[in-house]
Symmetry: C2
Subunit: 308 residues, 2 copies
């Protein structure tokens, strides 16, 4: 089975490189880093063992890429409008497109443009960052869950999971909708609050006021999920997320890094869309609505009040 | 009628000085600025005409002050625990204590310590700041409303209002509870949000996301007021507040100045207490609860995560 990686950054670069290292055929789309990686290869600094790939199948356009059996999309979701142009050259009749991105509603939107393409969600549980061109720093964790959205051939999902496991990446299949909402339970509070209060996960949880607020925001996500028909996420899950985060390395989520480095934040799929879905289902996520407004303000407005 | 001013800052300094200038007997309690003001007097830089008082009745302790007919308290409300010691020396049998402070529940708390003292609320609508020792900068507005909490003698209230008017300060009597909640409709959104997003009133209102959020927070205060038995504040009042604020000078509310100058913020009476009162009455102010948590985090935590 051949793999295409659309977006060779902290996520796509890491998982793609692991597959290459275990002997899989992987084709990487690069943008800004294309020339550098073509010449120097890809460096993975990893808590599980660092390695370098001297030569990878690197492309600056999907038009130059072969069609692949599995295409993993690890672009920032704000760039998903590009998929309309990027995807067609790499699609076979039954290519599975795995969207390794955060948020709610991503698969439904890609499906609108590609009604016949089979889709799955990739839920990456990993602390990693692209620190410089062609260099990924994988700090900790690293497992990936796959949620089947519209893949008709279970063998493809099974093979992906098997390939990941052979590459030393823990992978499991999960129920699509539940997995997306479960990830939102962590993502919605921590991504935005670290930006809004210019801080890190550990500092948020060491203050009793923000600890309580994070828990309340997690409960809003859980209630929203319930309203949207995902019944089996409960308060224990929020407590477990908080416990795990307290015991994990102090961490700046991807949105905090995006904000700090003046890159656009993934506000739409992380906040706007789940808030909309919940409201349509009759539930208002009041505190996360406020966080969304704060994030949009911070994204749109410079400190002197002029538009960014 | 004689006046005592407990807390000669941006508010007490301004109103007290205006009363002195129109010939009233006023006694000022000062703390850090005592020596400077005793020697140099009080300077009021005002949009309505600046003036200097060479000599005022300045005291460094209420024990040195004469008992007064009216005592105006214009301390920051975080210092109200000091009133137990500060007030007794200046109280006659029927002294009226006017609490010119922001928030909900202030009179009820002072009443606990002074069950026989007559109280009123002073609602100051003024943009002013103490810019240096003995110097108040009055930028705009300036009127004061008086809400009778437990004053038995209407003539005292009438005289205060008359004295203010003679001093060129627009003053009116208002219904106590309604007036406190109406002021909260402006105070709760703007004080905290300018701190949380490090901005000013005009910038908040020029961004569509925060404009919407401010309106929602105002509606939370209005619903809380209704739950607490104040029926006649409606959505039109919120719209009017927003309209007025859009047309007023760009403004940093007192809490923003407190935060910027590393002084404690009045979180308790501006947020914690009204949120508690509303919850007791069956209403949850969700977004303002979140703002309270953010403010407490910002007050308690330095950027490196250690306690302030």
């Amino acid at each position: 089975m051949t793999y295409g990686i659309i977006g060779t950054g902290a996520i796509g670069g890491y998982y793609g490189a692991k597959l290459v290292k275990s002997g899989k055929e992987v084709h990487f789309l690069l943008h800004k880093d294309y020339d550098f990686v073509k010449e120097n290869g890809l460096q993975i600094d990893s808590c599980d063992g660092s390695f370098h790939l001297d030569n990878i199948n690197a492309y600056s356009s999907t038009k130059d890429m072969p069609k692949c059996d599995v295409v993993m999309v690890s672009l920032k979701s704000i760039n998903n409008k590009l998929l309309k142009e990027l995807l067609p050259p790499v699609l076979k009749e039954h290519t599975l497109v795995v969207l390794i991105q955060n948020g709610i509603g991503i698969e439904a939107d890609v499906e609108k443009d590609f009604p016949n393409v089979e889709l799955a969600a990739g839920l990456a549980f990993i602390c990693s960052a692209k620190t410089e061109p062609g260099r990924v720093n994988h700090q900790c964790y690293g497992y990936i869950n796959i949620g089947n959205y519209s893949c008709k051939n279970q063998a493809v999902i099974d093979t992906i999971i098997n390939d990941f496991r052979e590459a030393g990446v823990d992978a499991n299949e999960v129920e699509y909708k539940e997995a997306r909402w479960k990830k939102a339970v962590w993502n919605m509070p921590f991504n935005g609050m670290t930006v809004a209060l210019n801080t890190q996960t550990d500092i948020l949880l060491s203050n009793t006021n923000t600890l309580k607020l994070i828990k309340e925001q997690m409960m809003e996500v859980i209630h929203a999920a319930q309203a949207c028909g995902v019944e089996n996420i409960d308060e224990d899950f929020a407590d477990k997320m908080i416990y795990n985060t307290i015991h994990m390395t102090p961490y700046s989520p991807s949105m905090k890094l995006d904000y700090d480095f003046n890159r656009p934040m993934e506000i739409y799929y992380l906040y706007t869309r789940p808030i909309e879905e919940a409201r349509k289902a009759g539930y208002t996520m009041a505190k996360l609505e406020m966080l969304e407004a704060e994030l949009k303000f911070l994204e749109e407005t410079k400190s002197d009040g002029t538009k960014k």
